[in-house]
Amino acid sequence: MHIHQFDAVVVGAGGAGMMAALYASRGARTAVISKLYPTRSHTGTAQGGIGASLGNLEEDRWEWHAFDTVKGGDYLSDQNAAKVLAQEAIEAVIELEWMGLPFDRNDDGTISQRRFGGHTNNETKKPVRRACHSADRTGHMILQTLYQNCIKENVNFFDEFHAVDLIMNGDRPAGVVAVSIDTGELHIFHAKAITFATGGWGRMWSTTSNAHTLTGDGPAMFWRNGLPLQDMEFFQFHPTGLYPLGVLITEGVRGEGGVLINDRGERFMERYAPTIKDLASRDVVSRAIYLEVREKRGIKGKEYVYMDVRPETVNRYLAEAGESRRIDADYVRAKLPDIMDFCKIYAGVDPVESPIPIAPTAHYAMGGIPTNIHAQVIRDGKETVIPGLYAAGEVACVSVHGANRLGTNSLTDLIVFGRKAGQQMADYCRHADFVPLPDNPAGAIEAELERIRSSKGKQRPYDIRKKLRSEMMDKVGVFRQEDMMAEALETIRQLKEDYRNDLAVDDQGRRFNTDLLEAWELGCLLDIAEVTAACALERKESRGAHSREDYPKRDDVNYLAHTMVYPEGDGLRIAYDRPVDLSLGHEPKERVY
């Protein structure tokens, strides 16, 4: 057993983790633990842009950005958090530019911005250009730029260290246990302050835009340590995953003028969102696609529709809308080069010549580890802070995104709240002491890993995972109803039994044992899938991404509150005991786009 001591430890080296690390390092001895080399993190796949009301091309205001965020979140967003996000987005994006991020530029040399779903001029209700971008590789540029700056500032990385447990001593965090993937040895990181930035868990569904490694390790570690999770039923399905793989095709395609078309050649979003049409928020568009498919208007009767960004199509609709802008094939290629490649490689389609086959894909976790606007983790609906424990990025639930995240707001979230976590850790470490490690801090996790390593049952992790993912896709997906979700919950509990009692792992070795670690990740997915299904079953209304056919309306009387789910014994307890912050004064209204 190796024991390290650092003032601050960050788990995860995506955008949120590295931002936290940069800031923490300035005031505290900091280590970053990541199961992937930092530049392999999924932030690097983000395409379309990072939202900030710079107003480089037209009037924009942070107040509009905040309101759009709240409305997009179907009024479950905390308005104090939306305010912080929208206000600080501006300096955060500028800070990235100062760090060297190569944004695309406007004619005048300022940062280029494009349209994105749900971002509007609140007065005219028209789409506004708020998404700052670097072609369709914005996340790649952010991830690279942050890593470069971490190198410049000598941040300590423990690359390919897989965190497997959070160490709590009573109700205080004391450190993290991680497996060195190369050697297979356990390491204990004893720390005063810890930030979790482990990203999302799209791998819970069979069609997803998420990496193989996005398995919800962070929330599972919290849950297993008796800590609550928040708003877990809210998971976003992005409307435009490349069919059938689910690889993401950015909303930026529609931002540049692309439109969704059904088998009859209709631009069907005109019916669902008359004002902003294809740029309505994601939950709305995903449902529209499902409904079109259900009405047998999918392409060739199948489960997908087209997204058409051929210049002649785009220009026809621009003309119809009375806009003077026109595009050509070179423009599309310059603005969306990676999308061109994905479509060619995986679908054999050249988007400037043929429409792109798309269908909704599991994309983003709105819920997660409950935090406040300072990135501090809280343990209950009364905002009780756990000193020294922080979370940021997709794994955290501040909640900025409420019931449905607006495009470009995750990258903003990473930078704004990652930075806060870093600043907070640096401040905290200045006056706090180490919480002593409890006896045998890695004992339980060591035993669990040994159990998995030596398991000789009949079910491969893959078989269990496959069942889990299709069950979630079919029954806890875009549309939900009571009986289906109850079935899913039962299946998940059965799969958990199988995982405990009948698992088969081939690799019994120590070094680079990805068989073992994949199986451990499956355990995380199972735990939080159960939480997700249970929360979805309990919330008897439709709000944002949580859309129930048996309760199709939003119910602000009973459910205008965050779901807090607490582990209890072998089960769980759900309470709506964290109120939604309404301090900007945006009272819930019906959402029309």
């Binding site: 992937l36 080399y37 530049t39 392999r40 993190s41 999924h42 690097g44 796949t45 300096e91 994006v93 500028i94 530019e97 100062w98 760090m99 060297g100 190569p102 944004f103 695309d104 530029r105 004619d107 005048d108 040399g109 300022t110 940062i111 670097s134 590789r137 790649h140 540029m141 690279q144 730029t145 470069q148 700056n149 190198i151 410049k152 190369d182 990496a211 193989h212 490694t213 793989l245 690889v247 990676d338 490649d341 994905f342 490689i345 995986y346 054999g348 491969r460 992790p461 893959y462 792992v505 081939d506 690799d507 070795g509 120590r510 070094r511 680079f512 044992n513 990805t514 068989d515």
Partner: protein, 237 residues
Amino acid sequence: MEVKLRIRRFNPEKDQKPYWGEYTLTDVEPTDSVLELLNRVKWEQDGTLTLRRSCAHGVCGSDAMRINGRNRLACTTLLQAIDASKVIQIEPILGLKVIKDLVTDFEAFFEHYRSVMPYFVPATPVPSNGRERYQSQADRARFDDTTKCILCACCTTSCPSFWASGQYVGPAAIVNAHRFIFDSRDGATNQRLNILAEPDGVWRCRTIFNCTPACPREIEVTRAIGEVKLAIQQGAR
């Protein structure tokens, strides 16, 4: 259809030396990627098969390997794009130490990367109005190509000069230096050019040109190296 895979295997805890493992998969589609096939071997037949992967669509740079003798990302290599009629041969990339099966040790690779100051050193103080530094579209376009690098090592580990001497910084590090050398906002050009003028810098490149076709991001690697060479010859910007 059915395909056969021949995979270079090595388990440091068991094997004295590497060997070839052979696997047959049925129900394979021409649109399956090599990564999907490797996953199927691992998940359905032999869980000990070890490889790195994450994003599965060519962006994270985890799964560079030699497929039928060429460096590629497994996740962007579809069967229809390679000759799958006989066996598909899969080996770790060359020139980095093999840890296990297809997993190689990237520490040396990242050390070369770090050695070229792969970070922004601003030429001017931050603007006093608190806004972004301006950059013209032409200046931004000047280094666009080399911003695309995902550090997968396909280029560096396809380079005979790197195979001959692991001390050579290699194409990937030069690409990442290029990204800053030609950024109009950066002020450390001379330092980077001095680093790359050292014996293990750009002059080890013999313009063999393996790197360019190896790049899954279609970066014109050899050209970028050529531009750095020229900048060194011409002295500072």
